[in-house]
């Protein structure tokens, strides 16, 4: 299924927040996890939540609130969650730690512009890093759930120009097995 229109609308709001964060910090947050896989598969793998890595908590909070997002305000486990009242089907969460524990090549990040003029966008890890992340998770849950392996295989199939040397290294760093992709 293609990316749904309301998904793209939510992504546009997030892109505005990311651009606001960039203006304040000279750095972009990065969208990771299932959301990155959803975008790179053009919706074949749909995801309703957006995981965000950002080093400056206060700047992210300010950027999100300035663009219509609200903090999860009820008591519970969520300390870094946001929602957008106009996009109630989607949830947003800042995840802790550095991007892939500092193991990824930041020069490979990709800015995906969302608006027609190309002024605002979200930053994604490279496809290689997303595949490695998926296979790292697969290594942990493979006995009960092969969904991350399937996501990784789909991404590997969709992007034939991947840097296989980097991909293999990153998969191994994440604790995955590159041979499941035949590399």
């Amino acid at each position: 299924m293609p990316l749904e229109l309301d998904y793209i609308a939510a992504l546009l709001e997030l892109a505005r927040a990311f651009t606001c964060y960039k203006d304040a910090t000279e750095d972009y947050p990065v969208l990771v996890g299932g959301a990155a896989a959803a975008i790179y598969t053009a919706g074949q793998f749909p995801s309703g939540d957006f995981d965000i890595v950002a080093s400056n908590d206060e700047a992210l909070n300010a950027a999100m609130l300035a663009n219509g997002f609200r903090r999860e305000d009820r008591q519970g486990y969520i300390r870094r969650g946001f929602y957008h009242p106009d996009h109630p089907r989607y949830g947003f969460e800042q995840v802790s730690g550095r991007l892939f524990d500092g193991q990824s090549d930041l020069n490979r990040l990709r800015l995906v512009t969302v608006d027609r003029l190309g002024l605002v966008g979200v930053v994604l890890p490279s496809v290689e890093d997303v595949i490695a992340d998926r296979l790292g998770q697969h290594a942990v849950v493979c006995h009960i759930d092969d969904s991350r392996l399937r996501q990784a295989k789909a991404l590997f199939c969709l992007f034939p120009e991947l840097d296989v040397t980097y991909l293999r290294k990153r998969i191994e760093t994440e604790g995955g097995d590159p041979t499941v992709l035949g590399i």
């Binding site: 074949q44 969650g81 995906v112």
Partner: protein
């Protein structure tokens, strides 16, 4: 950092799907869906609240296991 528009990215991916026979079927989508076994408590709560908000607005939630 390379820059690509979302429209262009989707166009490229959809073309590749056609070329490789990778089909967007409900079965393929379901097979790729995280079954939820390793989710953190925070993520489960986020998904639960998101589903609740969607239903409160009369919208179908995005399917997720949690």
């Amino acid at each position: 950092m390379t820059v690509v528009s979302l429209d262009r990215l989707i166009e490229q991916v959809e073309a590749r799907k056609l070329a490789t026979g990778l089909l967007d079927t409900p079965e393929a989508t379901e097979a790729m869906r995280n079954k939820g076994g390793q989710r953190t408590p925070a993520k489960r709560e986020l998904l639960r609240r998101t589903e609740e908000r969607a239903r409160a607005r009369g919208l179908a939630p995005v399917a997720a296991y949690y």
